[in-house]
Point group: none
Chain length 229, copies 2
DNA sequence: CGACCTCTTTACACACCTTTACAAAGCTTT
DNA sequence: AAAGCTTTGTAAAGGTGTGTAAAGAGGTCG
Protein backbone atom coordinates (compact mmCIF):
# COMPACT_ATOMS: atom_id res chain seq x y z
CA UNK A 1 0.00 0.00 0.00
CA UNK A 2 1.33 3.39 -0.95
CA UNK A 3 1.65 5.74 2.00
CA UNK A 4 1.17 9.46 1.60
CA UNK A 5 1.52 12.32 4.07
CA UNK A 6 -0.52 15.44 3.49
CA UNK A 7 0.71 18.65 5.15
CA UNK A 8 -1.67 21.61 4.90
CA UNK A 9 -3.13 23.94 7.51
CA UNK A 10 -6.45 24.15 5.64
CA UNK A 11 -8.17 21.29 7.42
CA UNK A 12 -11.21 21.31 5.20
CA UNK A 13 -9.17 21.05 2.05
CA UNK A 14 -6.96 18.41 3.66
CA UNK A 15 -9.93 16.28 4.55
CA UNK A 16 -11.30 16.51 1.08
CA UNK A 17 -8.01 15.67 -0.58
CA UNK A 18 -7.31 12.83 1.84
CA UNK A 19 -10.67 11.30 1.09
CA UNK A 20 -10.19 11.68 -2.62
CA UNK A 21 -6.72 10.11 -2.54
CA UNK A 22 -7.98 7.27 -0.36
CA UNK A 23 -10.71 6.58 -2.89
CA UNK A 24 -7.92 6.15 -5.40
CA UNK A 25 -6.21 3.51 -3.32
CA UNK A 26 -3.65 5.42 -1.26
CA UNK A 27 -3.14 5.29 2.47
CA UNK A 28 -3.18 8.91 3.61
CA UNK A 29 -2.12 10.62 6.84
CA UNK A 30 -2.70 14.33 7.29
CA UNK A 31 -1.06 16.88 9.59
CA UNK A 32 -1.73 20.60 9.77
CA UNK A 33 1.61 22.21 10.52
CA UNK A 34 5.28 21.86 9.70
CA UNK A 35 6.58 20.57 13.01
CA UNK A 36 4.02 17.79 13.16
CA UNK A 37 5.08 16.81 9.68
CA UNK A 38 8.72 16.45 10.70
CA UNK A 39 7.73 14.35 13.70
CA UNK A 40 5.51 12.14 11.57
CA UNK A 41 8.24 11.55 9.05
CA UNK A 42 10.61 10.45 11.78
CA UNK A 43 8.44 7.57 12.94
CA UNK A 44 6.79 6.52 9.71
CA UNK A 45 8.09 5.75 6.24
CA UNK A 46 6.13 7.57 3.50
CA UNK A 47 6.28 7.03 -0.23
CA UNK A 48 5.60 10.68 -0.93
CA UNK A 49 4.69 13.96 0.75
CA UNK A 50 2.21 16.59 -0.39
CA UNK A 51 3.39 19.80 1.24
CA UNK A 52 1.70 23.19 1.38
CA UNK A 53 4.05 26.17 1.31
CA UNK A 54 1.88 28.68 3.14
CA UNK A 55 1.51 27.55 6.73
CA UNK A 56 1.72 29.33 10.06
CA UNK A 57 4.84 28.54 12.05
CA UNK A 58 7.25 26.39 10.11
CA UNK A 59 6.28 26.81 6.48
CA UNK A 60 6.67 24.40 3.58
CA UNK A 61 10.10 25.65 2.62
CA UNK A 62 11.26 25.20 6.19
CA UNK A 63 9.95 21.65 6.29
CA UNK A 64 11.58 20.84 2.97
CA UNK A 65 14.92 22.32 3.94
CA UNK A 66 14.97 20.40 7.20
CA UNK A 67 13.84 17.20 5.54
CA UNK A 68 16.40 17.32 2.75
CA UNK A 69 19.12 17.22 5.36
CA UNK A 70 18.47 13.53 5.83
CA UNK A 71 15.79 12.27 3.48
CA UNK A 72 15.19 11.94 -0.23
CA UNK A 73 11.47 11.20 0.04
CA UNK A 74 9.55 12.59 -2.97
CA UNK A 75 7.87 15.89 -2.18
CA UNK A 76 5.11 17.61 -4.13
CA UNK A 77 4.66 21.22 -3.09
CA UNK A 78 1.45 23.24 -3.05
CA UNK A 79 1.46 26.99 -3.11
CA UNK A 80 -1.31 29.52 -2.93
CA UNK A 81 0.46 32.07 -5.03
CA UNK A 82 0.34 31.10 -8.69
CA UNK A 83 3.83 32.46 -8.76
CA UNK A 84 6.56 30.96 -10.85
CA UNK A 85 9.22 32.10 -8.43
CA UNK A 86 7.88 30.09 -5.52
CA UNK A 87 7.91 27.10 -7.75
CA UNK A 88 11.53 27.61 -8.64
CA UNK A 89 12.57 28.22 -5.05
CA UNK A 90 10.85 24.99 -4.10
CA UNK A 91 12.39 22.98 -6.87
CA UNK A 92 15.83 24.31 -6.11
CA UNK A 93 15.40 23.32 -2.51
CA UNK A 94 14.73 19.81 -3.63
CA UNK A 95 11.02 19.50 -4.25
CA UNK A 96 10.14 16.96 -6.92
CA UNK A 97 7.14 18.73 -8.35
CA UNK A 98 4.89 21.66 -7.78
CA UNK A 99 1.20 22.52 -8.08
CA UNK A 100 -0.40 25.92 -7.62
CA UNK A 101 -3.56 26.37 -5.64
CA UNK A 102 -6.31 26.15 -6.42
CA UNK A 103 -5.91 23.00 -8.42
CA UNK A 104 -7.95 20.22 -9.81
CA UNK A 105 -7.75 17.19 -7.48
CA UNK A 106 -7.36 14.97 -10.47
CA UNK A 107 -4.26 16.86 -11.44
CA UNK A 108 -2.89 16.36 -7.94
CA UNK A 109 -3.55 12.66 -8.32
CA UNK A 110 -1.78 12.55 -11.67
CA UNK A 111 1.21 14.40 -10.28
CA UNK A 112 1.45 12.27 -7.16
CA UNK A 113 1.49 9.23 -9.39
CA UNK A 114 4.14 10.76 -11.62
CA UNK A 115 6.34 11.59 -8.65
CA UNK A 116 5.96 8.08 -7.28
CA UNK A 117 6.75 6.56 -10.65
CA UNK A 118 9.94 8.60 -10.93
CA UNK A 119 11.10 7.74 -7.44
CA UNK A 120 10.28 4.10 -8.02
CA UNK A 121 12.56 4.08 -11.02
CA UNK A 122 15.43 5.42 -9.02
CA UNK A 123 14.85 3.08 -6.09
CA UNK A 124 14.83 0.15 -8.47
CA UNK A 125 18.35 1.13 -9.34
CA UNK A 126 19.10 1.32 -5.66
CA UNK A 127 17.60 -1.98 -4.71
CA UNK A 128 19.25 -3.91 -7.45
CA UNK A 129 22.95 -4.24 -6.92
CA UNK A 130 24.02 -4.56 -10.49
CA UNK A 131 27.17 -2.57 -11.25
CA UNK A 132 26.86 1.18 -11.29
CA UNK A 133 28.68 2.79 -14.19
CA UNK A 134 29.40 6.47 -14.77
CA UNK A 135 31.93 7.27 -17.44
CA UNK A 136 35.11 5.30 -16.76
CA UNK A 137 34.19 4.39 -13.21
CA UNK A 138 32.35 1.18 -12.46
CA UNK A 139 31.36 0.15 -8.97
CA UNK A 140 29.92 -3.19 -8.05
CA UNK A 141 28.26 -3.51 -4.67
CA UNK A 142 28.04 -7.28 -4.74
CA UNK A 143 31.80 -7.68 -5.01
CA UNK A 144 32.60 -4.31 -3.42
CA UNK A 145 35.04 -3.44 -6.15
CA UNK A 146 35.61 -0.22 -8.04
CA UNK A 147 37.13 -0.23 -11.51
CA UNK A 148 38.74 2.83 -13.07
CA UNK A 149 38.90 2.02 -16.78
CA UNK A 150 39.59 -1.70 -16.13
CA UNK A 151 42.03 -1.01 -13.34
CA UNK A 152 40.93 -2.02 -9.85
CA UNK A 153 40.86 0.93 -7.49
CA UNK A 154 42.38 0.40 -4.08
CA UNK A 155 39.75 1.83 -1.78
CA UNK A 156 39.23 1.31 1.91
CA UNK A 157 35.84 0.10 2.98
CA UNK A 158 34.56 3.49 4.01
CA UNK A 159 35.95 5.12 0.91
CA UNK A 160 34.06 2.60 -1.15
CA UNK A 161 30.82 3.38 0.66
CA UNK A 162 31.29 7.10 0.30
CA UNK A 163 32.15 6.97 -3.38
CA UNK A 164 29.32 4.57 -4.08
CA UNK A 165 26.84 6.88 -2.44
CA UNK A 166 28.18 9.88 -4.34
CA UNK A 167 28.08 7.95 -7.58
CA UNK A 168 24.47 7.00 -7.14
CA UNK A 169 23.61 10.67 -6.82
CA UNK A 170 26.06 11.92 -9.43
CA UNK A 171 25.23 15.50 -10.38
CA UNK A 172 23.29 16.11 -7.18
CA UNK A 173 24.29 17.50 -3.82
CA UNK A 174 24.45 15.04 -0.95
CA UNK A 175 24.71 16.30 2.61
CA UNK A 176 27.38 15.22 5.05
CA UNK A 177 24.59 13.84 7.19
CA UNK A 178 23.48 11.52 4.39
CA UNK A 179 27.05 10.43 3.74
CA UNK A 180 27.69 9.80 7.40
CA UNK A 181 24.53 7.73 7.66
CA UNK A 182 25.07 5.70 4.55
CA UNK A 183 28.83 5.18 4.69
CA UNK A 184 29.46 4.99 8.41
CA UNK A 185 26.00 4.26 9.78
CA UNK A 186 25.92 7.07 12.26
CA UNK A 187 24.71 10.61 12.60
CA UNK A 188 27.03 13.49 11.94
CA UNK A 189 28.18 15.02 15.22
CA UNK A 190 29.44 18.51 15.70
CA UNK A 191 33.17 18.88 14.97
CA UNK A 192 33.17 15.50 13.24
CA UNK A 193 35.64 15.80 10.39
CA UNK A 194 35.74 12.20 9.21
CA UNK A 195 33.73 12.83 6.08
CA UNK A 196 36.04 15.69 5.18
CA UNK A 197 39.04 13.43 5.50
CA UNK A 198 37.47 10.71 3.39
CA UNK A 199 36.73 13.34 0.75
CA UNK A 200 40.29 14.53 0.81
CA UNK A 201 41.58 11.00 0.38
CA UNK A 202 39.04 10.15 -2.30
CA UNK A 203 40.00 13.23 -4.29
CA UNK A 204 43.59 12.08 -4.29
CA UNK A 205 42.63 8.65 -5.49
CA UNK A 206 40.29 9.95 -8.19
CA UNK A 207 43.06 12.00 -9.73
CA UNK A 208 45.64 9.27 -9.10
CA UNK A 209 43.57 6.89 -11.23
CA UNK A 210 43.08 9.59 -13.86
CA UNK A 211 39.30 9.66 -13.52
CA UNK A 212 37.46 12.65 -14.99
CA UNK A 213 35.40 12.98 -11.84
CA UNK A 214 35.52 15.83 -9.41
CA UNK A 215 34.13 16.08 -5.91
CA UNK A 216 32.72 19.59 -5.66
CA UNK A 217 32.21 21.21 -2.27
CA UNK A 218 28.98 23.10 -1.78
CA UNK A 219 29.74 25.11 1.30
CA UNK A 220 27.23 24.64 4.07
CA UNK A 221 25.30 22.03 2.12
CA UNK A 222 27.48 19.09 1.24
CA UNK A 223 29.35 17.54 -1.68
CA UNK A 224 28.49 16.78 -5.27
CA UNK A 225 30.19 14.32 -7.61
CA UNK A 226 30.61 15.83 -11.05
CA UNK A 227 31.43 14.06 -14.29
CA UNK A 228 33.76 16.33 -16.24
CA UNK A 229 33.34 14.46 -19.49
CA UNK B 1 -5.91 33.17 -30.73
CA UNK B 2 -7.17 31.97 -27.38
CA UNK B 3 -10.75 30.69 -27.49
CA UNK B 4 -13.07 31.00 -24.51
CA UNK B 5 -16.62 29.82 -23.94
CA UNK B 6 -18.80 31.73 -21.51
CA UNK B 7 -21.77 29.87 -20.00
CA UNK B 8 -24.17 32.01 -17.96
CA UNK B 9 -27.93 32.51 -18.12
CA UNK B 10 -27.59 36.20 -17.26
CA UNK B 11 -27.45 37.59 -20.80
CA UNK B 12 -26.63 41.12 -19.78
CA UNK B 13 -23.68 40.04 -17.65
CA UNK B 14 -22.54 37.66 -20.37
CA UNK B 15 -22.53 40.38 -22.99
CA UNK B 16 -20.52 42.65 -20.77
CA UNK B 17 -17.96 40.01 -19.86
CA UNK B 18 -17.63 38.85 -23.44
CA UNK B 19 -16.94 42.35 -24.60
CA UNK B 20 -14.42 42.91 -21.84
CA UNK B 21 -12.56 39.68 -22.56
CA UNK B 22 -12.53 40.44 -26.29
CA UNK B 23 -10.99 43.81 -25.53
CA UNK B 24 -8.22 41.88 -23.80
CA UNK B 25 -7.51 39.84 -26.88
CA UNK B 26 -9.56 36.67 -26.42
CA UNK B 27 -12.02 35.16 -28.84
CA UNK B 28 -15.22 34.64 -26.88
CA UNK B 29 -18.38 32.63 -27.52
CA UNK B 30 -21.32 32.82 -25.14
CA UNK B 31 -24.23 30.47 -24.50
CA UNK B 32 -26.99 30.80 -21.92
CA UNK B 33 -27.73 27.28 -20.75
CA UNK B 34 -26.00 24.03 -19.98
CA UNK B 35 -27.17 21.96 -22.92
CA UNK B 36 -26.08 24.56 -25.45
CA UNK B 37 -22.70 24.59 -23.78
CA UNK B 38 -22.26 20.85 -24.23
CA UNK B 39 -23.26 21.11 -27.88
CA UNK B 40 -20.81 23.95 -28.43
CA UNK B 41 -17.82 22.14 -26.99
CA UNK B 42 -18.54 19.15 -29.21
CA UNK B 43 -18.02 21.15 -32.38
CA UNK B 44 -15.44 23.66 -31.25
CA UNK B 45 -12.15 23.40 -29.37
CA UNK B 46 -11.88 25.89 -26.50
CA UNK B 47 -8.84 26.81 -24.44
CA UNK B 48 -10.93 27.40 -21.34
CA UNK B 49 -14.52 27.61 -20.12
CA UNK B 50 -16.11 30.12 -17.75
CA UNK B 51 -19.06 28.32 -16.24
CA UNK B 52 -21.82 29.64 -14.01
CA UNK B 53 -23.15 27.19 -11.43
CA UNK B 54 -26.67 28.60 -11.06
CA UNK B 55 -28.58 28.06 -14.27
CA UNK B 56 -32.06 26.80 -15.07
CA UNK B 57 -32.19 23.32 -16.56
CA UNK B 58 -28.77 21.69 -16.63
CA UNK B 59 -26.71 23.60 -14.08
CA UNK B 60 -22.96 24.20 -13.93
CA UNK B 61 -22.23 21.05 -11.96
CA UNK B 62 -24.19 19.02 -14.49
CA UNK B 63 -22.23 20.52 -17.35
CA UNK B 64 -18.92 19.89 -15.59
CA UNK B 65 -19.76 16.30 -14.67
CA UNK B 66 -20.77 15.55 -18.21
CA UNK B 67 -17.77 17.33 -19.67
CA UNK B 68 -15.22 15.59 -17.49
CA UNK B 69 -16.29 12.32 -18.99
CA UNK B 70 -14.41 13.17 -22.16
CA UNK B 71 -12.57 16.48 -21.85
CA UNK B 72 -9.81 18.01 -19.74
CA UNK B 73 -10.47 21.55 -20.87
CA UNK B 74 -9.72 24.07 -18.07
CA UNK B 75 -12.91 25.24 -16.36
CA UNK B 76 -13.36 28.31 -14.19
CA UNK B 77 -16.57 28.18 -12.19
CA UNK B 78 -18.70 31.10 -11.08
CA UNK B 79 -20.42 30.41 -7.77
CA UNK B 80 -22.88 32.22 -5.57
CA UNK B 81 -21.33 34.57 -3.05
CA UNK B 82 -19.32 32.90 -0.35
CA UNK B 83 -20.73 29.47 -0.91
CA UNK B 84 -17.96 27.26 0.41
CA UNK B 85 -19.75 24.04 -0.42
CA UNK B 86 -20.07 24.96 -4.08
CA UNK B 87 -16.39 25.67 -4.20
CA UNK B 88 -15.46 22.29 -2.78
CA UNK B 89 -17.94 20.36 -4.87
CA UNK B 90 -16.72 22.17 -7.96
CA UNK B 91 -13.06 21.51 -7.34
CA UNK B 92 -13.78 17.92 -6.49
CA UNK B 93 -15.64 17.48 -9.74
CA UNK B 94 -12.71 18.79 -11.67
CA UNK B 95 -13.04 22.55 -11.92
CA UNK B 96 -9.70 24.31 -12.17
CA UNK B 97 -10.64 27.43 -10.28
CA UNK B 98 -13.69 29.24 -8.99
CA UNK B 99 -14.80 32.81 -8.52
CA UNK B 100 -17.71 33.96 -6.38
CA UNK B 101 -20.27 36.42 -7.72
CA UNK B 102 -20.26 39.31 -7.79
CA UNK B 103 -16.69 39.78 -8.98
CA UNK B 104 -14.45 42.36 -10.52
CA UNK B 105 -14.08 41.61 -14.27
CA UNK B 106 -10.37 42.20 -13.95
CA UNK B 107 -10.18 39.43 -11.40
CA UNK B 108 -11.97 37.15 -13.82
CA UNK B 109 -9.41 38.09 -16.43
CA UNK B 110 -6.52 37.36 -14.08
CA UNK B 111 -7.95 34.00 -13.16
CA UNK B 112 -8.68 33.02 -16.73
CA UNK B 113 -5.08 33.80 -17.55
CA UNK B 114 -3.87 31.84 -14.53
CA UNK B 115 -5.91 28.83 -15.51
CA UNK B 116 -4.58 28.98 -19.05
CA UNK B 117 -1.04 29.32 -17.81
CA UNK B 118 -1.37 26.35 -15.52
CA UNK B 119 -2.86 24.16 -18.17
CA UNK B 120 0.09 24.99 -20.37
CA UNK B 121 2.60 24.49 -17.59
CA UNK B 122 1.26 21.17 -16.47
CA UNK B 123 2.64 19.50 -19.54
CA UNK B 124 6.08 20.93 -18.98
CA UNK B 125 8.77 18.80 -17.46
CA UNK B 126 9.46 19.71 -13.90
CA UNK B 127 12.54 19.58 -11.64
CA UNK B 128 14.70 20.09 -14.64
CA UNK B 129 18.42 20.66 -14.15
CA UNK B 130 19.56 20.84 -17.73
CA UNK B 131 21.96 23.70 -18.54
CA UNK B 132 20.55 27.19 -18.52
CA UNK B 133 21.81 29.46 -21.28
CA UNK B 134 21.29 33.21 -21.65
CA UNK B 135 23.48 34.96 -24.18
CA UNK B 136 27.11 34.16 -23.43
CA UNK B 137 26.45 32.79 -19.97
CA UNK B 138 25.75 29.11 -19.45
CA UNK B 139 25.10 27.60 -16.04
CA UNK B 140 24.83 23.91 -15.33
CA UNK B 141 23.42 22.76 -12.03
CA UNK B 142 24.59 19.17 -12.37
CA UNK B 143 28.22 20.21 -12.58
CA UNK B 144 27.78 23.48 -10.69
CA UNK B 145 29.78 25.31 -13.31
CA UNK B 146 29.21 28.66 -14.97
CA UNK B 147 30.74 29.37 -18.37
CA UNK B 148 31.27 32.89 -19.69
CA UNK B 149 31.78 32.42 -23.42
CA UNK B 150 33.69 29.12 -22.96
CA UNK B 151 35.66 30.39 -19.99
CA UNK B 152 34.88 28.81 -16.63
CA UNK B 153 33.79 31.43 -14.11
CA UNK B 154 35.28 31.21 -10.66
CA UNK B 155 32.27 31.51 -8.41
CA UNK B 156 31.83 30.58 -4.80
CA UNK B 157 28.98 28.24 -3.86
CA UNK B 158 26.65 31.00 -2.81
CA UNK B 159 27.53 33.19 -5.75
CA UNK B 160 26.67 30.30 -8.02
CA UNK B 161 23.31 29.84 -6.33
CA UNK B 162 22.48 33.52 -6.49
CA UNK B 163 23.45 33.92 -10.13
CA UNK B 164 21.61 30.76 -11.09
CA UNK B 165 18.46 32.02 -9.48
CA UNK B 166 18.77 35.41 -11.15
CA UNK B 167 19.40 33.73 -14.48
CA UNK B 168 16.31 31.60 -14.25
CA UNK B 169 14.31 34.78 -13.78
CA UNK B 170 16.28 36.90 -16.23
CA UNK B 171 14.35 40.07 -17.00
CA UNK B 172 12.21 39.72 -13.90
CA UNK B 173 12.56 41.23 -10.47
CA UNK B 174 13.42 38.82 -7.69
CA UNK B 175 13.14 39.84 -4.06
CA UNK B 176 15.94 39.52 -1.53
CA UNK B 177 13.72 37.14 0.41
CA UNK B 178 13.53 34.79 -2.56
CA UNK B 179 17.25 35.00 -3.12
CA UNK B 180 17.95 34.32 0.53
CA UNK B 181 15.65 31.32 0.47
CA UNK B 182 16.97 29.80 -2.70
CA UNK B 183 20.68 30.58 -2.38
CA UNK B 184 21.23 30.37 1.35
CA UNK B 185 18.21 28.39 2.50
CA UNK B 186 17.03 30.82 5.11
CA UNK B 187 14.68 33.73 5.52
CA UNK B 188 15.93 37.26 5.20
CA UNK B 189 16.35 38.83 8.63
CA UNK B 190 16.31 42.51 9.39
CA UNK B 191 19.69 44.18 8.88
CA UNK B 192 20.90 41.15 6.92
CA UNK B 193 23.22 42.47 4.24
CA UNK B 194 24.59 39.21 2.89
CA UNK B 195 22.62 39.34 -0.32
CA UNK B 196 23.84 42.87 -0.94
CA UNK B 197 27.42 41.74 -0.56
CA UNK B 198 26.96 38.79 -2.88
CA UNK B 199 25.46 41.18 -5.43
CA UNK B 200 28.40 43.49 -5.10
CA UNK B 201 30.82 40.64 -5.64
CA UNK B 202 28.82 39.16 -8.50
CA UNK B 203 28.74 42.50 -10.29
CA UNK B 204 32.52 42.63 -10.14
CA UNK B 205 32.78 39.15 -11.58
CA UNK B 206 30.25 39.74 -14.33
CA UNK B 207 32.22 42.72 -15.60
CA UNK B 208 35.52 40.96 -14.98
CA UNK B 209 34.43 38.18 -17.36
CA UNK B 210 33.14 40.73 -19.86
CA UNK B 211 29.58 39.50 -19.74
CA UNK B 212 26.89 41.80 -21.15
CA UNK B 213 24.74 41.21 -18.11
CA UNK B 214 23.86 43.78 -15.50
CA UNK B 215 22.37 43.31 -12.07
CA UNK B 216 19.88 46.12 -11.73
CA UNK B 217 18.71 47.26 -8.31
CA UNK B 218 15.01 47.93 -7.92
CA UNK B 219 14.87 49.89 -4.74
CA UNK B 220 12.53 48.44 -2.16
CA UNK B 221 11.77 45.44 -4.32
CA UNK B 222 14.85 43.48 -5.19
CA UNK B 223 17.23 42.83 -8.04
CA UNK B 224 16.84 42.04 -11.69
CA UNK B 225 19.30 40.46 -14.09
CA UNK B 226 19.27 42.27 -17.42
CA UNK B 227 20.75 41.11 -20.70
CA UNK B 228 22.28 44.14 -22.38
CA UNK B 229 22.65 42.44 -25.73
C1' DC C 1 54.46 -8.06 21.11
C1' DG C 2 55.27 -4.95 17.03
C1' DA C 3 54.10 -3.91 12.23
C1' DC C 4 50.54 -2.62 9.55
C1' DC C 5 46.09 -0.91 8.17
C1' DT C 6 42.09 1.94 8.74
C1' DC C 7 39.43 5.42 10.69
C1' DT C 8 39.06 9.45 13.71
C1' DT C 9 40.66 13.51 15.95
C1' DT C 10 43.61 17.47 16.29
C1' DA C 11 45.64 21.50 14.55
C1' DC C 12 46.36 25.12 11.64
C1' DA C 13 45.89 27.66 7.29
C1' DC C 14 42.86 29.41 4.18
C1' DA C 15 38.60 30.36 1.73
C1' DC C 16 34.12 31.83 2.25
C1' DC C 17 30.18 34.07 4.35
C1' DT C 18 28.26 37.48 7.44
C1' DT C 19 28.39 41.58 10.04
C1' DT C 20 29.85 46.17 10.83
C1' DA C 21 30.53 50.72 9.52
C1' DC C 22 30.17 54.50 6.83
C1' DA C 23 29.12 56.86 2.52
C1' DA C 24 25.94 57.63 -1.05
C1' DA C 25 21.44 57.52 -3.23
C1' DG C 26 16.49 57.75 -3.07
C1' DC C 27 12.20 58.69 -1.03
C1' DT C 28 9.21 61.35 2.26
C1' DT C 29 8.18 65.05 5.22
C1' DT C 30 8.51 69.70 6.52
C1' DA D 1 14.59 73.10 -1.10
C1' DA D 2 16.21 71.30 3.08
C1' DA D 3 15.98 67.91 6.57
C1' DG D 4 15.23 63.33 7.97
C1' DC D 5 14.54 58.58 7.23
C1' DT D 6 15.27 54.33 4.60
C1' DT D 7 17.68 51.59 1.41
C1' DT D 8 21.77 50.33 -1.03
C1' DG D 9 27.07 49.91 -2.20
C1' DT D 10 31.10 48.31 -0.54
C1' DA D 11 35.58 48.03 2.23
C1' DA D 12 37.09 45.82 6.09
C1' DA D 13 36.71 43.06 10.25
C1' DG D 14 34.99 38.97 12.31
C1' DG D 15 33.22 34.35 12.39
C1' DT D 16 32.46 29.80 10.38
C1' DG D 17 33.32 25.90 7.29
C1' DT D 18 36.66 23.23 4.72
C1' DG D 19 41.36 21.04 3.18
C1' DT D 20 44.74 18.41 4.75
C1' DA D 21 49.06 16.93 7.34
C1' DA D 22 49.98 14.63 11.28
C1' DA D 23 49.07 12.32 15.51
C1' DG D 24 46.06 9.18 18.00
C1' DA D 25 43.10 5.15 18.61
C1' DG D 26 41.48 0.71 17.37
C1' DG D 27 41.84 -3.43 14.95
C1' DT D 28 44.19 -7.54 12.77
C1' DC D 29 47.82 -10.65 11.86
C1' DG D 30 52.26 -12.72 11.96
Amino acid sequence: MTQLLLIDDDKELSAMLAEYLRSEGFEVDAVFDGLSALEKVKVQQYDALVLDVMMPGLDGFGVLRHLRGYSAVPVLMLTAKGDEVDRIVGLEMGADDYLSKPFNPRELLARVRAVLRRSQQSTELVADNSPLVVGKLKMDMSSRTAMAANRVMELTSTEFNVLYFLLRQVGHIVTKEMLSQSAMGRSLEKYDRSIDMHMSNLRKKLSQYGLPLRIVTVRGQGYQLVDKA
